[in-house]
């Protein structure tokens, strides 16, 4: 059973976004997405300072089953990436919403978060398959 969190926003391509107190946002992939991929063995993250355009490919995950692209849910600048994921990709399977974040972004337009799905809408998307 996948976990969904009310304090997150979601993209249709299964990324989550969390607004932080300083106005930056954390980005990761959802519990549903990591579960579908299975054991993750490699993650390629963007470089700090990269400008990301919403919908553009920003990271790659390799699992024992498949490789999958990760997309920027909003536009912005990459402020930080989670180096622990590169050392131990399995963090993503164990803690997709806490330890398994991919990158911290400074959004170009903070109001763009409103365009993303809330928990209810994302749950419907997943349950519709």
């Amino acid at each position: 059973m996948s976990e969904f969190r009310a304090d997150l926003k979601y993209s249709e391509s299964h990324e989550w976004v969390k607004l932080e107190a300083d106005g930056s946002v954390l980005v990761g992939i959802t519990d549903h997405a990591q579960d579908a991929l299975g054991d993750v063995v490699y993650i390629e993250l963007p470089d700090v300072g990269d400008d990301m355009e919403a919908g553009a490919e920003v990271a790659v995950i390799e699992s024992v089953k498949a490789a999958s692209d990760v997309y920027a849910p909003i536009s912005g600048e990459v402020l930080e990436t989670n180096q622990a994921l590169q050392e131990d990709p399995g963090i993503l399977n164990r803690s997709p919403y806490d330890m398994g974040w991919f990158m911290r972004i400074r959004p170009n337009d903070p109001s763009s978060l409103e365009d993303l799905l809330d928990e209810t809408a994302y749950r419907v998307l997943v349950e519709e398959g």
Binding site: S11, E12, S13, A36, L37, G38, V41, Y42, E44, A54, G55, A56, E57, V60, E62, S63, V64, K65, A66, A67, S68, D69, Y71, P73, D115, G129
Partner: protein, 237 residues
């Protein structure tokens, strides 16, 4: 240099063969086409996923492999080290869809024509792991407990939020490969990378080994048969 016999395209340089795969995926992702299919082979090479680039001995291992006649090139799908060479047929396709099928369903679709191919020679095949095989995984095509084909997939999308999904799939089929030489090349490379994994040539089988000598098909006939089946498959997705 490329040459074709029927639907089988031989791309002499492994690097170019992998670049053609990237182009195939890019054409579907860009919206130029909704699906694309290629049945191809290339010369001797080892193909590795990106994670292998992180191995501290990779450059050393790559140079030594190349010196042995097995250049190393990088692919964008996951898995582990795989061989290429004459006698190995690759099927690569990509298609656009509203939503992805499950990973398991995608592999079932990818494996079906290869299972049917084994069946056409009187051998029952299915999908499972084979201890000691190269790039082992749950979705090898296996007959008589031996690996006949390996598979991989990459999940991508067209550009933009809410854009359609694009599924890229690849199967590597041992048709008339030099399995012993291929496995030796992988084992040398793994050792040079400091990896203890040893691959066992004896747990692999060629399509040609499934056929009675009198009815062994030509490599191009196998390629044409696979092309037809995957072409029909892509029409139905």
């Amino acid at each position: 240099m490329k040459s074709s016999k029927g639907h089988l395209t031989h791309i002499a340089t492994p690097e170019n063969a992998l670049e053609d795969e990237r182009t195939l995926l890019a054409r579907v992702r860009s919206g130029e086409v909704d699906s694309a299919l290629s049945v191809w082979s290339t010369n001797n090479a080892l193909v590795v996923p990106r994670r292998v680039l992180r191995n501290p001995y990779f450059d050393h291992a790559r140079k030594r492999s190349e010196a042995r006649g097995w250049p190393v090139t990088v692919r964008d799908s996951g898995g582990d080290v795989t061989p290429q060479g004459l006698g190995i047929i690759n099927v690569t396709y990509a298609y656009c869809c509203r939503r992805y099928p499950s990973i398991e369903e995608s592999y079932r679709v990818l494996c079906r024509p290869i299972i049917d191919l084994a069946s056409s020679f009187g051998h029952v095949a299915d999908c499972k792991a084979v201890d000691g095989s190269f790039c082992d995984g749950q979705y090898n095509v296996v007959t008589d407990q031996k690996k006949l084909a390996g598979t991989a997939q990459r999940r991508s999308r067209r550009h933009g939020q809410g854009a359609p999904a694009v599924l890229f799939a690849h199967a590597l089929i041992l048709v008339n490969a030099n399995i012993v030489a291929s496995v030796n090349a992988i084992n040398h490379f793994n050792r040079d990378c400091g990896q203890p994994t040893t691959i066992d040539a004896g747990v692999h089988v060629n399509v040609f080994d499934l056929a009675a000598p009198a009815v062994t098909p030509l490599l191009e006939d196998v390629a044409d048969s696979l092309y037809s089946q995957y072409f029909e498959l892509l029409r139905s997705v």
